[in-house]
């Protein structure tokens, strides 16, 4: 019998964390999920990566204590053996580790301090384990993570999330017409643009300051939440910011979500660390906002594990990948397919990814059961005929889902082959490009003595025709502090100019504004 959905976890890690009785509670909840999935037309199998019987046909079980590499390799073998339409990682990173991928935007001066990006993206790719982000440009699998709380020893929270996934049902598109959005005031223009692209209106927008964080039940009851605020490492709050001022009032608080979130809510949060899974002991005992949403009934949370990027005006990076995710959910996709399609669309929209977009692709991931369809879709008229129902009585959605997966695999495989890699180099920009960049830097207010530069070669993947010729394309990032003239406190902002050159010619340039 073919398996539609694989629930992947690690028995030894669950036992160590929850004990035998705790695991029994999780197993019971999983039986409920399997039954519910069957009703939805899904054959679901739970696979403990460290249990040999579960891994039959997919190679050796992983060790009693397994690292990300072992888990990635085992999941690759499982996907090859079963070709599932959905892969659900069960538990937080202390059960199934995230893959620690190198951060291409890392810089030790003025910069992005995340040396690695913990990510589930590699599990969605059929390429071998690596910590090189360039290996994961072509995701093909529908993957999500139903997390638990790091360090927690009470399995009831994970059991609750599994049971909630079992109970989830698609709702009419009308139920997702209204939204709830929070923005840092400083980024209002960007958030307005995002909201228009997602919901067609900015009616749902709330700016912090002056509003927040005591959102009413009525405000939070909307089923589409889009959040563009500051976040922080191991923090249970998001923060707003007035334009041009370094004040960060609380915008959203995990403590204030209880009993306020509607069942089936879907959230995309652009915030730095917006979906980070951390040990609550580092945050006064409070788990993060993403978990708070899921525990209160949300079906999906799409967010970042680390520091994220986006402009204060216009849309780029985090804005785009979050928009793509919500747009796909609203069009009736499963949350997992929406995440995969968002990743593919984000990667495929460009000839190459600069270090900030490459990090964006790595860091955004889905928390929640990837097989859930929050928004129902009505099929074409033929689907309501007796002949149609009879023809597909046994396979139900499996056959058409299989066709969708074929397309997604084709798209992902193409991206993996076609998207060039970004390799750090010491080469400086060509003379003419350097001259242009110097002029741009001067007009931006960057002082030459305080600038730093990161450069990358854009390397075509080996099997493409382009690869026959050596690459002359490079990406250069020039970064430095810029005094804010109108700011009486003498606050300086870092500005990064990202330039693409080819054979000495400047092709493209963008400026990442400080906030």
């Amino acid at each position: 019998m073919s398996i539609d959905k694989l629930v992947v976890t690690h028995h030894g890690a669950l036992i160590k964390k929850y004990g035998t009785a705790g695991v029994q509670r999780i197993t019971k909840a999983l039986r409920t999920l399997i039954t519910a999935d069957k009703r939805r037309g899904l054959i679901t199998a739970v696979v403990h990566l460290d249990v040999a019987a579960d891994m039959t046909g997919a190679g050796q079980a992983v060790a009693a204590v397994a690292d990300a590499k072992a888990c990635k390799q085992a999941i690759d073998r499982l996907c090859k053996a079963h070709d599932p339409h959905y892969v659900m990682l069960l538990g937080g990173p202390d059960i199934v580790p995230m893959v620690p991928v190198r951060n291409p935007a890392w810089s030790d001066k003025d910069g992005d301090g995340d040396q690695v990006v913990p990510t589930d993206l590699p599990y969605a790719c059929d390429t071998a384990y690596s910590t090189n982000p360039n290996r994961f440009l072509g995701p093909t699998r529908v993957v999500g993570r139903l997390p638990d709380v790091i360090g927690n020893t009470d399995s009831s929270l994970l059991a609750q999330l599994i049971t909630a996934a079992a109970r989830a049902e698609p709702r009419a598109p009308e139920d997702y017409q209204s939204g709830f959005s929070i923005t840092a005031q400083a980024w209002q223009a960007s958030t307005e643009l995002s909201l228009k692209n997602i919901l067609g209106t900015t009616d749902a927008l709330h700016s912090v300051p002056p509003e927040g964080p005591a959102w009413s039940k009525g405000q939070l009851s909307a089923r589409v939440h889009f959040i563009n605020c500051h976040g922080a490492d191991a923090s249970s709050q998001y923060f707003g910011q007035p334009p041009g001022v370094e004040e960060f009032p609380v915008a959203h608080d995990a403590k204030r979500l209880r009993d306020r979130v509607s069942a089936g809510t879907v959230v995309a949060a652009e915030c730095c660390y917006g979906a980070q899974l951390y040990d609550p002991k580092d945050a006064g005992g409070q788990h993060g906002i993403a978990l708070a949403y899921l525990l209160d009934g949300a079906s999906a949370f799409f967010g970042s594990s680390t520091i994220a990027y986006g402009p204060s005006e216009g849309n780029a990076s985090a804005d785009l990948i979050c928009q793509f995710f919500l747009q796909q959910v609203l069009s009736g996709a499963s949350t997992g397919r929406a995440a995969l399609e968002a990743r593919q669309k984000f990667a495929g929209a460009r000839t190459h990814l600069d270090p900030y977009d490459l990090k964006t692709l790595m860091q955004f991931y889905l928390l929640g059961d990837p097989s859930l369809h929050p928004v129902s879709t009505s099929g074409h008229a033929l689907t309501r005929t007796a002949a149609f129902k009879k023809a597909f009585a046994k396979t139900r959605d499996r056959s058409v889902r299989g066709l969708r997966r074929e397309k997604l695999i084709r798209e992902g495989s193409h991206l993996a082959k076609a998207m060039p890699a970004l390799e750090p180099i010491d080469t400086a920009p060509s003379t003419s490009v350097a001259k242009t960049l110097a002029a741009m830097a001067k007009e931006t207010g960057l002082t030459p003595s305080q600038q730093t530069r990161m450069s990358f070669a854009v390397q075509p993947m080996a099997k493409t025709k382009v690869a026959a010729n050596p690459s002359t394309r490079q990406v250069h990032v020039i970064k430095g502090p810029v005094p804010q003239g109108s700011n009486a406190a003498g606050v300086v902002r870092i500005v990064a100019i990202v330039a693409t050159e080819d054979d000495g010619e400047l092709l493209h340039v963008r400026r990442l504004h400080a906030r």
């Binding site: 003025d110 976040g231 922080a232 960060f248 002991k281 580092d282 005992g285 990027y309 990442l512």
Partner: protein, 98 residues
């Protein structure tokens, strides 16, 4: 704060000069952050137990001082549980978290 809400492992101490520095350039986290400059041992982003993670007024009062801090080293920051008072540093008593 109860013991339940603090890391289980024993705290460690770090020593250095507290400085204000731009961090996470160009990202959604960019800000003036309070860091501990430990000289050759590098710099640590500081967070105080129970303090605002992005702008903590108490940490800002430490800028410019050379201090020994007690707390826990994390992936991206040092979680400060308190100051280890240096001889004659009466201010340390005022700034230790409850």
């Amino acid at each position: 704060m109860s013991d339940d809400c603090t890391p289980a492992e024993a705290p460690q101490t770090v020593h250095g000069r507290v400085v204000l520095e731009r961090t996470a350039a160009g990202s959604k986290s960019e800000r003036e952050a309070v860091m501990l400059d430990m000289g050759g041992a590098g710099k640590l982003l500081l967070r105080r137990v129970g303090g605002h993670p992005l702008r903590d007024a108490v940490l800002h009062t430490w800028v410019g001082r050379t201090l020994t801090l007690k707390g826990w080293r994390r992936e991206g920051f040092f979680l400060v549980d308190g100051l280890v008072a240096a001889p004659g540093d009466a201010a340390a008593k005022d700034h230790n978290p409850e």
